[in-house]
């Protein structure tokens, strides 16, 4: 006799050990006697730490006071955040004149405006926007931060940067709204769509020329007061050094890596020697060399400003590290890719630019971002040669008479700031990886 159950068996709920919190805890935290002890001890340590930090840093902390003595008067065991708050301007902007701080803020806002299109959908020519950020924005920002009289080169670059910023912004707005590029829209608006391609291009160039002339004339009257680099400091200085280092490390590294793999002996030897020299010396030594030895080699009276020397040193140093990372990435590309590229008739730059580099860079993202994060933290070494970066500023609080001896709170604040910056970079790199790895999904 056969029994056929035609009804579907109702699913039973998963056992409580799999679904409930208690079950999970029993399985993972109290699985054995040893695990239970570990759990209890760990929980206790976490409790002590959090409790200590909470009561010192928040519950008993003093937020408003004029001196550290007052802090002690209000609460002797708590943190004295009032000192950090009083020094916030110093920490963020260094000794930059207080009435000129808007220039740094404006520079940051412009950078954001410049870079936002890179993340927007439907915007074309992102590579151009990216490149202009690296090559034109520094001139505009540089003038905004340093001020003073512009020489003719600076005038041209500042005008180009402003024009580019306006163009970028218009282009992105139009792109997001209509999906067309700025050039296409201009052609349509001017109603010259039926003209030949050549005359269309001429019209665009003419518009560009007129725009440039207008901007150039406007910027001739634009003057901001000169602020000596010696007044730059704080997080601002850290970001300037790290920003230029990051922007130049990748292109520098790519060229050095290609040079090292080149078939031309002179280029190969020079690149290899350069990389090995800078890589085998600690950064602090490079910085010392740049600031103390370099002036000795120069004719008397020739003093390059110290910030420039430091930035050049940081750029060279990190380009060398980057070069080795890039070289590792290049070596991971199978030979077939090179051969395939040759087969379809691409030359050296074509092969590298269109076939090899895009694949290699994608693989290298974690390492590249690792170097960037390292670079950001390494910039704190410049405090040793007397630049007031964020770390020097944080340490200086404990020497200011009203806040004498206040050193834990500023350093903790600095640690949080650095964590935030590095964590954002790291998160963004994961995002990039995920975005670019679509073709390689397993």
């Amino acid at each position: 006799m056969t029994v056929v159950n035609e009804k579907k068996t109702t699913a039973r709920a998963a056992p409580s050990s799999e679904t409930s919190v208690l079950g999970w805890m029993r399985k993972n935290l109290f699985g054995s006697a040893f695990n239970s002890i570990l759990t209890v001890v760990t929980l206790y340590v976490i409790y002590l730490t959090v409790k200590g930090l909470w009561s010192w840093g928040i519950a008993d902390a003093v937020w408003i006071a004029d001196t550290r003595r007052q802090c002690f008067g209000i609460s002797i065991d708590g943190a004295c955040w009032a000192g950090v708050i009083a020094w916030l301007d110093n920490i963020f902007y260094g000794r930059y004149p207080r009435e000129e701080l808007w220039r740094i803020n404006l520079g940051l806002v412009l950078l954001i405006i410049w870079m936002v299109p890179l993340w927007l959908p439907r915007v074309k020519a992102k590579i151009f926007i990216g490149l202009s950020t690296v090559f034109l924005y520094p001139f505009l920002a540089g003038y905004l931060f340093a001020g003073g009289d512009k020489d003719i080169f600076m005038q041209v670059m500042v005008s180009a940067a402003i024009l580019c910023l306006i163009g970028n912004t218009l282009h992105s707005i139009i792109s997001v709204m209509t999906g067309n590029s700025l050039a296409e829209t201009l052609i349509r608006v001017l109603n010259v769509k039926n003209a030949s391609e050549k005359s269309q291009r001429n019209i665009l160039i003419a518009i560009l020329g007129v725009g440039f002339a207008l901007v150039y004339v406007w910027q001739m009257g634009w003057y901001v007061e000169s602020v000596s680099w010696t007044k730059w400091g704080g997080l601002f200085l850290t970001m300037v050094i790290a920003g230029i280092g990051i922007a130049s490390a990748l292109p520098g590294g790519i060229f050095l890596a290609l040079g090292r793999r080149s078939n031309l002996p002179v280029i190969r030897i020079i690149s290899t020697a350069f990389i090995e020299l800078f890589r085998s010396v600690p950064l602090i030594t490079v910085l010392f060399m740049a600031t103390t030895m370099f002036p000795l080699f120069m004719p008397e009276g020739f003093i390059l400003n110290k910030l420039t020397q430091v930035i050049i040193a940081v750029c060279l140093f990190n380009a060398c590290y980057m070069a080795e990372t890039v070289r590792a990435g290049l070596q991971a590309i199978p030979k077939g890719q090179f051969e395939g590229a040759h087969t379809i008739g691409l030359g050296y730059w074509g092969t590298m630019g269109f076939i090899v580099m895009p694949q290699a860079l994608k693989h290298m993202i974690p390492n590249i971002v690792g170097i960037f994060i390292g670079l950001l933290k390494d910039t704190t070494l410049v405090s040793i040669i007397g630049l007031f970066d964020i770390l020097s500023m944080l340490r200086a609080i404990s020497k200011d008479t009203p806040w004498l001896g206040l050193h834990k709170e500023p350093l903790l604040f600095g640690a949080m700031l650095f964590f935030l910056l590095c964590f954002v970079m790291s998160k963004y790199s994961r995002h990039m990886e995920a975005k670019l790895s679509t073709t390689h999904k397993n």
Partner: protein, 346 residues
């Protein structure tokens, strides 16, 4: 052969360029400074009392005052000044290669530094000395009672060496606990990590003022070392050396003569005292030897003040002062039994 000739020609060209780029006549420091329009004065990383930043990012302190005084003497304006903060590893190099015009930082004047480093130390503006801080309730009242004690000290300084010498000479068997950072040193001492702290008395007094309960601690009377802290200039430019030393002397002399930043205008207009009239440039021609304006000393006192005013402001009981008493110390005027003494200005 052809290639070799080309190579040699280019080497020669480069060499010529290099020679041509080197200026033939050396300028004096005063000329360089005047041409540049400001004085480059070197201090160290912030140090309480001597040179520190306030919350607005401005420099202040006893050594900063010396810098401002030099700028006032030359330009009549204390703001024509660039303060360079340079770590102690690089302080002398940076003076030697011309980056700084003078060093006004807590550098101890020692014979080897004065004779071997190509620099000249001038009139000290602060006499410091090494001492000990202890908990008051420890019952210790003299450094000789520190037998077998653990003493906190910052590493790599003469302070550490002096401590070892003192311990050996008196058979005290002191064990040194070293730290890189003086904040950590003090923290350890406060939490009972060592029985005493050693360091320069001035800076310890400053740090002690910032302890949670300053009255629980005291500085022992013994002084282990001599630390005359003096400004320094490059060796070989006597005129510049004179300008900086007489700037410091002028501040000391002004205090002795009772000239302050408040009464200097009055005294210049009305005083009958020949010394005052001579110093403020009303009569005589003291300024000629320095190559400065007639009112160089007047500007110093008008803009920066005399030595006593600056001591009170930054080291003493002033609002930005760290509270080191001056009376009876080596930093009092010679008329009060101290070491602050200026040659006559006549």
């Amino acid at each position: 052969m052809m290639k070799l000739t080309t190579f040699l020609t280019s080497v020669a060209a480069v060499a010529t360029l290099a020679v041509a780029a080197t200026p033939v006549t050396a300028e004096t420091t005063l000329e360089i400074v005047k041409k540049r329009g400001h004085v480059r004065c070197q201090v160290g990383p912030p140090s309480a009392g001597y040179y520190n930043l306030d919350a607005k990012g401005e420099w202040y302190g006893l050594d900063v005052a010396t810098c401002q005084a030099v700028a006032s003497a030359i330009f009549g304006d204390p703001k024509k000044l660039e303060i360079q903060s340079i770590s102690s590893q690089m302080r002398f190099t940076s003076l030697a290669n011309g980056e700084s015009d003078l060093l006004s930082r807590t550098a101890t004047w020692t014979m080897s530094r004065d004779t071997q480093l190509g620099l000249d130390f001038l009139q000290p503006n602060f006499y410091d000395g090494q001492g000990f801080t202890v908990h008051k309730d420890s019952g210790i009242t003299s450094a000789y009672q520190l037998k077998g004690a653990k003493v906190c000290v910052t590493s790599g300084t003469t302070t550490e060496l002096n401590l070892t010498d003192f311990s050996r000479a008196n058979d005290l068997n002191i064990s040194a606990v070293t730290f890189e950072d003086y904040n950590v040193r003090d923290e350890t001492y406060l939490n009972g990590g060592c029985d005493a702290v050693t360091g320069d008395k001035s800076s310890m007094a400053g740090n002690m003022a910032a302890f949670p309960v300053p009255a629980d601690h005291m500085i022992l009377p013994e002084t282990l070392s001599k630390e005359p802290l003096a400004p320094a200039v490059r060796h070989g430019d006597s005129q510049w050396r004179d300008i900086v030393s007489w700037t410091v002397y002028a501040m000391i002399n002004a205090e002795e003569l009772g000239i302050t930043s408040k009464n200097v205008d009055d005294l210049r207009a009305k005083s009958d005292n020949v010394s005052i009239r001579r110093m403020l440039g009303v009569e005589g021609n003291l300024h000629e030897g320095l190559g400065l304006n007639k009112d160089w000393a007047y500007s110093i006192i008008k803009h920066v003040g005399n030595y006593g005013e600056n001591y009170e402001a930054y080291m003493g009981s002033g609002e930005q002062g760290i509270g080191i008493p001056r009376k009876g110390s080596a930093n009092a005027l010679w008329t009060d039994g101290g070491l602050m003494y200026s040659p006559p200005m006549r």
